[in-house]
Symmetry: D2
Subunit: 346 residues, 4 copies
């Protein structure tokens, strides 16, 4: 059994890790920590876990964590994962960070967008960007995995195949994303107040969202040329789910069917990718609670553009499910182990 | 492997059976039927199942169904399960009906409330009311299980222990229930139109809802005296979940703690019942997607009444999850087989 | 023109007063105060008011407020209205308090339920409980109006007529109420976080909600005998709206039609009360944004109980609309002045 | 008083016309028709109107309608307004069509996108496109007004000023729109079923939505060169509101402030347009129930693109409110007459 530690188990991604790992046949929860709720039962913080686990949240202790665990998940605000990573890696254990601290190969990019100094650029360089559909082999041998952001996961899976196939112009990529509120976490903020969110759709951080450089890093790698994108996130009144709508100019005339064929070929053996039939479009509800990605595309001959659509559950494939997928790779397990649950519908 | 048939697989309870059984380690989907969608792939009707099953919906054929299946689930409007049941039982197979056709030991009660003649009163008499927490042993030996209604499941689990303990007055029971819209099924109706339901709470079928006699039948059995209840269902703007709030006059002064102790004792070894600590009240979100029941109680010394609260997911413990729980009992499996998934939160 | 002051204009009831009064033909907003947002434009706090008012929020100053206003609305947490009331009343101006400070004729009841000492019991005795349908004449001559709570407004309007008519047993009244989140105000709390509220229905403060003694005070007055009620508030996932479901034993057999006739007679000339036809039940969406109350009733001969239903918009008839209705009475205006807007549907 | 007829009063836009016109000081409802509900009281179809109007829905009769009304609103599926328009215009009365039948100056465009033959191309040519912010003067003298679609209203108001100012490249316009469900009308469809819509965001009619040529017609007129746009509508789980996010390449470097200044200048005296301050972005909730438009813009120097945002209530400024605004223009009334209500928040 893989002994798992979670640092930051009292947030939504932490709770989702617990949900998944409690039923993972090869993992056991060894240590769960929380700064705010240390000393309390996890089921007091999340009543849906009543009777499912009697684990108590602890104060983080690096030595204890590293000793008791084979792998540690960090679900922390950016800037906080570095000391945990150092402590865990020094002791020869593996770390999967669900935050942004190790996602950028170039620490200067991180520093420019996150407005803090990076305390461990050497770790950032060494980390593997944990999008298994792109970097499966590298993840397998990694010690430190940077789990992708929720928006990048959906955006990259929709865009990379067509960019690699050379059929879209990398200078024309626009990503309009819609997310449910759970992506904003459990902290209190007027922007998460029910009466403010309900019956409301709004854009935020236009042109300055921190997932932008993460998307650009990976699209640049895929295109082999520097890519800049317009990325606009929106909040829609629902709890889970991200839908990304990507616009790009086609380099030559292509049918919708041809676009979908590129997806099908690229993702041929992928266990979590579903390329929908022509005429069927992704919707977030179809992936609620599952690690599955729904992809769709439409070629528009009138404008010469492709419209690419991806739907994920932001807490599963966009965070904790993908993190467990990475764990499976790190430990040589079949990638779907503990992740083959079907989504909830309706 | 238990070979399973589902008659009416294109409704919400049918889809929920599929979700659960696809991951049930001892069951396999043998035949799925649908009147409206026969000939189509199930994943065309429910895109969340894309890539999870390639099963095609068929026209119902009794002989074929009985030959290919060890157990048949019927998820049909009332009045339609009788012929299926006859065909299946005649061939020595088992049937679990998710509708109302076999819930009443006295067919006259069914006829009075459902306004149709009962075509098989002898089957109704023979059927076991499939609430495992009350009738586990009888279910084990049954051929025909009448799966309880969603409202009765929540109402009975909250009320029966206190009634059996003799601490509440059976003449004073009032049940105020709140349900999400999925309980109304997938059929089209102005009352299910998003713009009519959203931002709306309403009562319906006041005093005449058909789950009333079902609740009364079981409360009468528990009390040993005829019980009549006021039962008022409400629709609240959410997809899943039922919360029942039960009011009853206490026969003697009791604390909240004493009420909860009665629950804890009654449900001591139950795998799916959670009696929440004093001061923590059930909420539907804590059981979304799981087969778990949350129970709470408050004794009010000012009024001499108990307020009893139960939360379930209407499609799981209130329908398909409970049906699988009954299947497990019928086939001698541990009751939690295939049902030990944790709910989705948030 | 009536010059109006609002103390606490940056909360939801304050904003709703502004919405109504901006279009009131006989009122003008003279002074708006806020502790948290003093110095800011109201439209910066509530962007829906952009271009509708350029008023700036001020620090509360009693002398200035009293000098500039003919009437002051206080929309404050309980315990904070007393000093404002003293300052305003001393200067001969009128005060309408939307909080609880003056709702109890017996300050001891207030102190027992609100757990604070009442600083002005003499004002509480002098205040008029501002439910115009019951106390219209007294409101007209008052200096200090205690605007009723949201739950009491709906509960009393449904119950009082039948209690006064003597047709229900006052010892059997149970009130099960469902409210949208805006009733909890704009303050931050995990219980108001979108991801916690959405897809969730829950009871809270069972047996101990502070609106209970307010309901009991008025039902006792109506019955002429001491009344105690079971009152259970629930939160449902919507922004606005309260539905109360009241259960009471009928003293004699009565039809639904007879119950509705009692309502129709009692509320014969009321401008804001709608008694729905038999078979049509109140729903909150029908009164969203309006000051109107929808009433319905069902007599259940099986149980000998009446089920009474009332729907209001908690921020309008349950708070700010009713406060303006009281203002109209205080100043001799037709009661519907500025309040005759039609609700928003859907 | 202007005598008003509404053809198709039992749909959502019809009901919204009634809501507005019941409180319009210069209009009276003369005739309301409905095919499905003729003979019924409007308040039976829409209970929120109980006690607000006792009007009965009638079968449409052209002669009677024209005789009794000064202006007729048609709220009908496309293709059905032509005979009504002929009958009304022949008799010298005015017509405002909320559908698509008269929006296209070139009937061939209509025929290509709507897949039906246009029965009155001469009326289409004569009709004025009723977007007052662009065509106020022409509306004043018109007999036949084609009320714009909901998506075009928001899209055009955000885009036209910058196109006319020549600061954006007309070949690069991409419009990503998000709408609540009320825009789909009250008809029954699985895509409007609550359990399918809730917790779901989805794109639809990608590249083929019929509002595309309407947007293009007006952008072409504004640019003076043929404009083609990518337009992708999405449904988000809310009842009211449209947010459009428009992307366009800037022809020269411009700041966000400069973009907003162009808006402010263009809409200087507009009563219903609010250009939000830099850093404040439109959200649909801020315009719920009002005829107001919120506009925002962000210039992104990294990509050289502008992101333009507009929020409207699809049933008010996107349909019935704008129709009344046009009526006010037709009859020489101040444009805000009957439309100066403040939106509902929260």
């Amino acid at each position: 059994m893989i002994r798992v530690g979670i640092v930051g188990a009292s947030g939504y991604t932490g709770a989702e890790l617990v949900r998944i790992l409690l039923r993972h046949p090869e993992a056991e929860l060894a240590v769960l920590t929380s700064r705010s709720y240390a000393g309390q039962q996890l089921s007091a913080v999340f009543p849906h876990l009543s009777g499912c686990t009697d684990r108590v949240l602890e104060v983080f202790d690096a030595a204890k964590m590293a000793a008791a665990c084979d792998v540690v998940f960090t679900a922390l605000p950016h800037g906080h994962a570095v000391p945990v990573a150092r402590a865990v890696l020094e002791r020869g254990k593996k770390l999967i960070d669900l935050g942004a601290d190790f996602r950028f190969r170039d620490a200067a990019v991180y520093e420019a967008w996150y407005k803090v100094k990076h305390e461990a650029p050497e770790l950032a360089r060494e980390a593997v960007y944990g999008l298994p559909e792109l970097y499966r082999d590298r993840v397998r041998g990694a010690a430190l995995v940077a789990n992708p952001g929720c928006y990048p996961t959906a955006s990259l899976l929709a865009t990379v195949p067509l960019l690699k196939a050379g059929v879209i112009d990398p200078a024309t990529i626009i990503i309009d994303a819609k997310s449910g509120l759970s992506g904003a976490g459990r902290k209190l903020d007027l922007r998460s107040h029910y009466a403010e969110v309900n019956e409301n759709v709004t854009a935020y951080n236009v042109g300055i969202h921190r997932h932008t450089p993460e998307i650009e890093q990976e699209l640049t790698a895929a295109a082999g040329t520097e890519v800049r994108v317009s990325f606009t996130p929106h909040l829609v009144p629902q709890t889970r789910g991200i839908l990304t709508t990507v616009y790009a100019t086609l380099r030559k005339e292509l049918t919708t069917g041809a676009l979908l064929d590129i997806y099908r070929e690229f993702y041929r053996d992928e266990p979590f990718i579903r390329v929908l039939p022509e005429g069927v479009l992704p919707r977030t509800k179809s992936v609620t609670g599952s690690n599955i990605v729904h992809l769709g595309a439409v070629a528009d001959p009138r404008t010469g553009r492709a419209v690419l659509l991806a739907a994920i559950d932001n807490l599963v494939k966009g965070a904790s499910g993908q993190a467990v997928q990475n764990m499976n790779l790190l430990f040589g397990l079949p990638e779907t182990t503990g992740l083959d649950f079907v989504g909830l519908y309706p």
